[in-house]
Symmetry: C2
Subunit: 339 residues, 2 copies
């Protein structure tokens, strides 16, 4: 797929109708890139009041964009495509973009950040503002309307806890992927379930309802076929898809499945506690309150919980950039009237 | 790399000197394919007495041949090359081969076995005997001079326990790879050590000497660089290479490292117990004795242990085929005199 990056031509933009898009309107792209899927929203740079939902012009969905999981070039391809699709749907072109907030899982180190910043500046004009963050940041912003304060816990295919203080300090826990022990993640839960089936079959562990349920779900006839199944495709999301089976078995009273979920909850809680403790989010007297946002399939399974999310994480990412752009505009035009 | 399989030409054989090899001599290839490396030996079909070492004409070494780890075509390529190199070194051609015992990690299911049998019969003449087994079988045979009786525990990059009764029943435990919980393996030990470093850094776990030692070994400056390091290369053996660091830290008194090793030992023991129990190797009164063979870097680290190995596993594999061929010969020539 050939595309000119700095110039006027970008393959993904070709089909934009000539009639689309507001003339001089400025846009923000908010992107939430997880290990299961990647969502991009397109928001206009216009003020809105807090009792209204943020305006979203377009939304596009793509697959995994975690470079640790699918490799760097596939991750980049996915990010470019989903942004182009959101722009296309909004009927605007790349030149309308004022700011981009890319919040992607797998961004763990300044070098990850710099690599993404480099290719963003290769695509967009030099006056576009970029924010490149771990996807946990979008998730936090989704519960705080773009403000970075509090703690967020993500538990989807992967898991991470991320926190920000009001004065800009930050801390994280977990988010290191399956090899490095993210046992509270969907992947971790499902891998433990698969392991329990193998242990039971070997004679190393108790019998469990998981054997029957997992084999049925995967249409396999014997636990030793799980080995081939597991290594046939290294995608983390494919393993994590088994989480609902574990939840069903636990709900049906299976002790092994229940212990797996209990252990996952303890792991998730310990990640949140580590972040809250390091940032002192509870204040000196231990009584200060702070937003706690919880995101991801593993946590959203129980619909009775108030998990604190107000908008979807991609919108959270867009709001983060929106807050910055609006603040900058206010500084430049101090007497502007929003009503 | 083009090669004619059934015909007389096999690319790997080209350089065999015309003068080499005994005229009508028959050979056995014994192959031990692990996740770290693959060894092939070439043995003549001649009798030898039990107080002599088995005669080995040639020995060749190659990399990983576990198809779950490197993929099927790379695994097959490695197996073919190492066999060709052993033949070349012995100065004999493929047509001298009477039997092949291929014991490879990752052979877990009849379909794995069949796939390898299919391509073996594509390379060798139709009257060659093939034995395709998990590499645990070669390891057991290495302690019993080719006889399949007793229990073997392998703990190298991966781990598996395998057992055979004298009447031919078999059982295994573990050997399901890292995702499926082989925590007694070198990979499992090293992954737990890496996880401990991350947990300590996050504030989720106690401080450990492992942080300093692992970062020093990998020439990294901060624990968050471990995430990129871990996922940059998915090879299991690369992770397992950290085992000596864990052993050193435990020997220096680090509690975290010691707990990791203790847990690994418990896991390994539980695999052996499961196999022994299922096969009833201790007999009805629980007092019967049986060979217990232990193989692999994790177990061979302590040189004071008697781990029961008499020859290397590749020779064990060759002996397994050798026993079969000699027995068959004796049946066909009942009055043959070995002296």
């Amino acid at each position: 797929m050939k595309r000119e990056r700095k110039g006027d031509i970008w393959d993904f933009e070709h089909e934009i109708p000539a009639t689309g898009g507001g003339g001089g309107e400025k846009l923000i792209l908010g992107l939430d890139g997880g290990t299961s899927n990647t969502i991009c929203v397109c928001m206009p740079v216009i003020p809105f009041t807090s009792n209204h939902s943020p305006p979203v012009y377009a939304r596009a969905v793509a697959g995994c964009s975690n470079h640790n999981s699918v490799g760097e070039s596939a991750a980049r391809e996915t990010l470019e495509q989903v942004m182009a699709e959101a722009l296309l749907k909004s009927g605007c072109s790349r030149s309308a973009v004022r700011a981009v907030c890319l919040a992607v899982s797998g961004v763990n180190h300044p070098t990850d950040q710099q690599r993404i910043l480099d290719w963003l500046s290769d695509i967009f004009a030099s006056d576009v503002e970029f924010f490149v963050e771990n996807d946990a940041v979008a998730a936090l912003a989704s519960g705080t309307m773009g403000k970075l304060h509090g703690c967020v816990l993500i538990a989807g295919t992967g898991t991470i806890a991320y926190g920000y203080t009001e004065d800009g300090r930050e801390a994280r826990a977990s988010g290191a992927g399956p090899v490095l022990g993210d046992w509270g993640s969907g992947y971790g839960i499902a891998a433990k379930a698969l392991t329990s089936v193998i242990r039971s079959y070997d004679g190393r562990g108790p019998e469990t309802m998981l054997t029957c349920s997992v084999l049925h779900q995967l249409q396999l006839s014997s636990p030793d076929e799980l080995i081939g199944w597991t290594y046939a495709d290294p995608s983390w999301a494919r393993i994590a898809n088994l989480v609902p089976v574990v939840v069903s078995c636990a709900e049906a009273g299976d002790q092994v499945a229940n212990d797996i979920l209990l252990h996952a909850v303890q792991e998730l809680a310990s990640s949140v506690k580590a972040v809250v403790h390091r940032l002192g989010l509870c204040g000196k007297d231990g009584k200060a309150s702070f937003p706690l946002v919880m995101v991801g399939n593993v946590l959203e399974a129980n619909r009775r919980w108030d998990i604190g999310k107000e908008v979807e994480p991609a919108v959270g990412a867009a709001l983060l950039a929106w807050n910055y752009v609006i603040e900058q505009y206010q500084q430049e035009h101090p007497v502007v009237d929003y009503d």
